[in-house]
């Protein structure tokens, strides 16, 4: 059986301008949404606060729950349906109360049972203090950054045989980052980490440019593209940004790169084999040759992730959703973002 014929010759690269506008449009919308919302909508992992998951034994009204919460001074908390409405499960989110959480879940149970007249089961309580929240936020950003850095080293090393160069670059970046960080601490700049990471990322891309690490540049650009769009879609849909979403993002990074590397590998192979062909033709040929694999793997991965999304339970829901976005965007970006960058780079160099 065969999905795509081996001699298929779909002109992917020729459509790079359409793809470029599409990607830029998505990224602009994502960024705009992030700016409008003032950053991602942090879940309690990152924002701090208290989250209580309650299951009622019978159908319960939202107002009843809110009324009960108001009696114990939690009138400001948000209540939302969790999972299938038939399950009568609700999530209650309150601000971090620190010491006041003592006995909180029992209090909540009593209050909502009294106000709704239904038996309630407290299924999950999560309290994250503001300090831990900001610690986790920092850790998450650092993990994204380090993942990108390590991957950049690996790609430059493997694809362009520039291990030393890329390691040196990483060391330079890290030490620069460290000093800037120390200076930020010295001058007491609050929340300097996101800015720092952005500066470091831009620094990485500039490094790639000057060191002519075009494969790494393409791969990292594709990853940034994927992450920005996934985060953007979460922001547009106003979904909570939690620790498991960070896990999903890193997995998406791994997945998207997996795709990119397989196309890149084929490009290198074809460049060696068909030296007379133009770069554009070789890139197109490579994408076409790997198209079967790209579609098949994306399909099987999508199948399992959709099954997680549908039957994996409410807690894993957002994680699975992020992965679904990631698989689409990751597959798209290795064909329409990473590969065209190689070509554009080449065209640019010829002009200069």
């Amino acid at each position: 059986m065969q999905l795509i014929k081996y001699d298929s010759n779909i002109n992917f690269i020729g459509k790079r301008k359409i793809a470029f506008f599409l990607s830029v449009a998505f990224m602009v919308v994502s960024m705009a949404s992030l700016v409008i919302h003032g950053g991602p909508k942090y879940g309690i992992d990152f924002a701090g606060g208290t989250l209580i998951q309650v299951k009622f034994m019978a159908k319960t009204s939202m107002d009843g729950i809110k009324g009960g919460l108001a009696t114990i001074g939690l009138g400001k908390s948000t209540v939302q349906v969790f999972g299938d409405p038939k399950e009568n499960e609700y999530l209650i989110r309150a601000d971090a109360l620190d010491t006041a959480t003592e006995g909180l879940s029992l209090k909540v149970k009593k209050a909502v049972e009294l106000s709704t007249g239904n038996d309630a089961d407290i299924r999950r309580v999560e309290m994250v203090g503001p300090k831990v929240g900001s610690d986790l936020r920092e850790k998450a950003l650092f993990s994204m950054f380090f993942a990108l850095l390590f991957i950049a080293i690996y790609i430059s090393g493997r694809f362009e045989m520039k291990w030393l160069l890329s390691l040196g670059m990483a060391a330079a970046l890290l030490s620069a980052l460290f000093f800037v960080w120390k200076i930020c601490i010295f001058f007491n700049f609050e929340n300097s980490i996101p800015v720092l990471i952005c500066v470091a990322l831009i620094g990485t891309l500039v490094f790639f440019w000057f060191l002519k690490l075009k494969y790494a540049m393409g791969a990292i650009a594709a990853i940034i593209h994927d992450v920005v769009i996934t985060v953007g879609i979460f922001s547009v849909l106003e979904l909570d940004f939690t620790l498991s979403i960070i896990a999903a993002l890193l997995t998406i990074i791994g997945y998207s790169l997996n795709d990119t590397i397989i196309v890149f590998d084929r490009i290198r192979e074809n460049l060696r084999k068909h030296q007379n062909n133009s770069l554009e033709k070789n890139i197109n040929k490579s994408i076409n040759e790997t198209l079967n694999r790209t579609i098949l793997t994306s399909f099987t991965t999508l199948v399992v992730v959709v099954s997680l999304f549908v039957i994996g339970g409410s807690i894993i829901h957002d994680f699975a959703f992020a992965m679904i976005i990631g698989i689409f965007v990751g597959t798209y970006s290795s064909i329409f973002v990473a590969s065209p960058i190689l070509l554009v780079w080449d065209l640019f160099e010829k002009q200069v």
Partner: protein
């Protein structure tokens, strides 16, 4: 394994014949060994009580339980040390007849001592001989008054803080042990944080109270020479403070705060307790906690009660008054009781806390995650169902799309899942809900390696190679690509493992094991199966 070593391994593997498979035996043998070991490690999870007794650990989000991160207020421990030192200095100065005009403990963990300027030489001489360890910070002189600022040396501050955390961990551990939780995990995290994991615990509120209470038990005399109402309106007289008793009305649940004017000086602490037990007062059928002092405590207690007959002695726990009975007789037996409208559970827990002793410094709950057992079971069921549905779909798809070769890939996939389970059991890693998601994800991605190889083989067949040649070419040219592609996922998993907490770490572990397992199954196991059929059984066509 470092990256270089990894490549080195593959080069060695090339030489030894994974690529050429001229010499099948050792590859085959070691593959078999890995598979047998995997099955052995999975067995205890499937059938209970079999060797090697290493079950897959379930995370708190799957089995239910409580996860707490506590912060020890280590500054408080330093503060109490300084307070003790300031008392000593005060006593010694008196002994040496050096007059001072006030010793104060400042907020930034410093001592300030005010001295008359003409006394300064004597004072410095005394300090240099008796308190050489204290760090001299600065001195300010105005008129004839000289203020000296002192602090503890950095190293000692560090030591006190570390001791406070260590001791807090020990105290919390013994409290939890007495409370009865199976397999609690209590460990220090970072500098001053303590991670407490209590799997399967249901009485979460009680456990939280048990862990979080400082349990500083103090006996203090009630100040009966001053007027309580006046103190409540204005400021309490020097040497006294207002503390409250919290009385809950058992019918309405309302809490009333009853103020007491209590002397600041502690007559006796709970440090000399040897025992604390839950007792029931037969007369009123009310639970109370009986406490017993050791020899020194007994002596002190008898001295305090003897000297203050007919006065009220307040029993204060963490600055809350529990009761303030009038001392009727001198108590020489070294026993006392703490009453205070307890429920039996409360009295039981208080006894545990008092037996385990006070925390060296107060702790604060920074993070709490509690999952009820019913939710945990639901999570496992949903996760496993998703795994079955996704898995069966992928198996069927591979079979339909690749026919015979698909069957080989399916075998590899099943083996892959067994290997992940075995890896989790062997490394005693913890399976969390995100971990299950990681396995499900691996099922989708693990076929990738086979898809790459099979597509390559098909390509080679389409340009007219023989099945055997196509297979060799397919594996050879795909091996490095597959390796490259998977290393990146490994990097992501590694970073997640380093930075992630709790459940996310579990995800990183399953993802990492999954990637290694899929490399093994797709590059080594399936190849041997193909080789067996093409070479030994002389199969002439590839069903792919």
């Amino acid at each position: 394994m470092t990256l270089q070593a990894f490549f080195y391994f593959f080069n060695v593997a090339d030489i030894l014949g994974i690529r050429e498979l001229k010499n099948i035996s050792w590859v085959l043998l070691s593959s078999f060994a890995v598979i047998v070991m995997a099955i052995v490690y999975v067995l205890p999870t499937v059938i209970p009580d079999t060797w090697p007794h290493k079950k897959i650990n379930l995370g708190l989000d799957l089995q239910g339980g409580m996860h707490l991160v506590l912060e020890v207020d280590t500054d408080k421990a330093v503060e109490s040390t300084l307070e003790r030192i300031s008392h000593e200095i005060r006593g010694d100065l008196k002994k040496e007849h050096i007059r001072h005009r006030g010793i104060n403990l400042l907020k930034n963990l410093r001592l300030s001592i005010k001295i008359n300027a003409d006394n300064l030489d004597k004072f410095t001489g005394f300090m240099n001989s008796d308190y050489r360890d204290l760090r001299f910070l600065s001195k300010s002189v105005s008129n004839d008054l000289c203020t000296v600022f002192l602090a503890l040396p950095e190293a000692e501050v560090k030591e006190i803080k570390k001791m406070a955390v260590d001791q807090a961990v020990e105290t919390i551990r013994s409290r939890i042990d007495e409370f009865g939780v199976s397999e609690p995990d209590i460990r220090i995290q970072g500098e001053n944080r303590i991670l407490v994991q209590l799997p399967g615990i249901k009485k979460t509120e009680r456990a939280k109270d048990l862990i979080g209470k400082t349990a500083l038990l103090e006996f203090k005399l009630v100040d009966e020479t001053h007027d309580l109402d006046a103190a409540l309106k204005g400021t309490p007289p020097p040497g006294s403070q207002i503390l409250y008793q919290f009385i809950e009305n058992p019918d309405t649940g309302q809490v009333v705060k009853k103020p007491f004017l209590i002397k600041k000086r502690t007559a006796l602490t709970g440090a000399t307790l040897t025992d604390a037990r839950l007792q029931i007062d037969p007369q009123y059928n009310e639970p109370y906690v009986s406490i017993k002092f050791d020899k020194k405590g007994t002596r002190d207690f008898s001295r305090v009660t003897g000297a203050n007959l007919k006065k009220r002695l307040a029993i204060v726990l963490d600055n809350k008054v529990y009761s303030a009975p009038v001392i009727q007789d001198k108590i020489t037996g070294g026993e006392a009781r703490i009453t205070g409208n307890f429920t039996t559970d409360e009295a039981h827990d208080l006894a545990i806390i008092l037996r385990a002793g006070a925390l060296p410094a107060p702790v604060r709950i920074l993070e709490e995650r509690t999952v009820g057992p019913s939710l945990g079971t639901d999570s496992i069921n949903n996760g496993i169902l998703a795994m079955y549905v996704g898995g069966i779909f992928v198996l069927l798809f591979m079979l339909i799309y690749y026919k015979g070769a698909g069957l080989v890939a399916d075998f590899a996939l099943v083996l892959n899942i067994i290997l992940i389970a075995a890896g989790l059991a062997a490394f005693q890693a913890t399976l969390t809900l995100p971990g299950i998601a990681g396995i499900v994800l691996t099922i989708g991605m693990a076929v990738d390696a086979n898809v790459i190889v099979f597509e390559r083989i098909k390509e080679e067949l389409s340009i007219g190679r023989t099945p055997r040649g196509a297979m060799d070419a397919g594996y050879n040219s795909a091996a490095l690509t597959i390796l490259d592609a998977n290393v990146t996922t490994l990097i992501a998993a590694f970073v997640l493992f380093q930075f992630g907490a709790g459940p996310v770490k579990g995800f990183a572990v399953t993802l990492g094991i999954g990637v290694v397992a899929s490399l093994f199954t797709s590059l080594i196991v399936t190849r041997q199966i193909f080789d067996y059929f093409l070479k030994n059984r002389s199969v002439k066509t590839l069903s792919i």
